[in-house]
């Protein structure tokens, strides 16, 4: 299910992010911009924006490393104000996934997917669902070099007239 895939990918990313967040709050504060998201108030301190920190999530989408935008300014405000942290880009079977978490008073209050795209920047294909296929599309496969045959179970008697028997006979 599409939702299930996205959620599990997001959770995996969030887990990595959370571990990093717990280990590196100080780093986040150093790198964080001065945009507080607690109540939409602008602290006006954006002049001190760190190298990679940004409150604009879209600008983070291509960044391979973790970034954070948190309640900068005073360290005391960090605990009360909500802060957002961008997770690392996590490669998955379906493409790269990056999430952003919002943390307030030590608890995650929101998880947002920043990036759910594949390498071609198309929207991510979570689904591996089977879709109609024309026989002519698969008939291109050459049978000449086939080394083994798969089919519904053949009985010992049916084997004698099977394609597999012909292949085996050629290799005996």
């Amino acid at each position: 299910m599409k939702a299930r895939g996205a959620v599990s990918a997001a959770l995996a990313s969030a887990g990595i992010l959370l571990a990093g967040w717990q280990a590196g709050v100080q780093i986040a504060e150093i790198r964080g911009s001065a945009a507080s998201t607690s109540a939409g108030t602008d602290t006006g301190g954006t002049g001190a924006t760190g190298a990679s920190g940004s409150s604009d999530s879209s600008s983070q989408a291509g960044a391979p490393a973790s970034g954070a935008s948190g309640a900068a300014g005073s360290a005391g405000a960090a605990a009360a104000a909500a802060a957002t942290y961008d997770g690392a880009m996590v490669p998955t079977r379906f493409g790269s996934v990056q999430v952003q978490i919002t943390v307030k008073a030590g608890a995650i209050t929101d998880v947002t997917a920043l990036q759910l795209t594949d390498d071609d920047r198309k929207s991510i294909q979570i689904s591996n669902r089977a879709a109609p296929l024309l026989r002519s599309e698969v008939l291109a496969a050459q049978s000449a070099d086939v080394k083994s045959i798969s089919g519904a179970t053949v009985t010992s008697n049916a084997y004698l007239t099977s394609l597999q028997a012909a292949i085996d006979a050629a290799n005996l």
């Binding site: 296929l133 080394k147 053949v154 009985t155 010992s156």
Partner: protein, 275 residues
């Protein structure tokens, strides 16, 4: 470009493929290995030894699990002469595995016949293939193709040391003497196992919830391991499109399914592997 063909190093000749076959579990098992080319060191003995190990493994499992042998442990269980509690560790291990698959497939795969008799045959052949693969690798054989009645597990390459896949064909259920398509095993996405189940053949081992019949006449599943491929192929034939979607959502598999009207359904990965 100057003609220097005489000075070019001779491209190593392609190794010959050698096959050994034997009967077990009501079908024929084929083991195919690349052997050294003529002039080299033909390890025919190694092929014979490898085939003997696989054959012994199939026979031993068949002795325990065959319902066609009145003296087998499975038959004694079916008759009620033996309780599961008193059964061998091998029997209980497979029973546990089968029940786990029944849970994971939400009942589409079940080890119990409609009459309530425990029948693990849907799992035992795949288990035998899996165990054979483990034994072959333990023997130091890195390149082989094992086919048991249409279920295929490969390792390595038909050209040892290369990335050449083992090309496997899939039978056309509408014309059983012809191939519907092929898929390169052990290559690309790393599917090394291919199992195909049908609603027409051996219909006795697939019990569709809807007794009226399956939506699919044939389902092929590609997976990393043969038990997953085999169980899911069986489950999809029994469970129809809902089970097909559960399989492709929940496992790293690719599927080619043939509807009863002959139309095909395939996962994107299957499509990519074929082209």
């Amino acid at each position: 470009m100057p003609r220097t063909s005489e000075n070019l190093p001779a491209t190593p000749p392609r190794p010959l493929l050698k096959a050994r076959t034997f009967q077990s579990m009501g079908t024929v098992i084929s083991l195919t290995l690349p052997v050294a080319t003529p002039g080299g060191n033909p390890p025919d003995d190694e092929l014979a030894a490898a085939a003997a190990v696989v054959e012994r493994l199939f026979r031993d499992l068949d002795q325990i699990f065959s319902l066609y042998r009145p003296d087998s442990e499975a038959s004694r269980l079916a008759r009620g002469d033996l309780s599961l509690r008193a059964a061998s560790a091998a029997m209980r291990g497979r029973y546990e595995e089968a029940m786990a698959w029944r849970l994971r497939t939400e009942g589409a795969f079940t080890p119990e016949r409609p009459d309530g008799v425990l029948d693990l045959s849907g799992l035992i052949k795949a288990h035998a293939i899996r165990e054979s693969g483990t034994s072959l690798l333990a023997l130091g054989r890195a390149d082989w193709c094992l086919n048991a009645g249409g279920d295929v597990l490969v390792s390595g390459s038909p050209v040892p040391g290369s990335y050449e896949p083992w090309d496997a064909g899939i039978i056309d259920p509408l014309a059983r003497g012809a191939l519907l398509t092929g898929y390169p095993l052990g290559h690309g996405r790393g599917h090394e196992a291919l199992a195909t189940s049908g609603s027409a053949e051996r219909g006795d081992h697939i019990w569709s919830a809807a007794a009226s019949g399956s939506e699919f006449m044939q389902v092929s599943v590609l997976a990393k391991d043969i038990v997953t491929a085999d169980v899911l192929a069986t489950a999809i034939v029994a469970g129809g499109v809902p089970m097909l979607n559960r399989a492709t959502d929940g496992w790293d598999v690719d599927v080619l399914a043939v509807r009863t009207d002959g139309r095909l359904l395939a996962t994107p990965g299957f499509r990519a592997g074929v082209s």
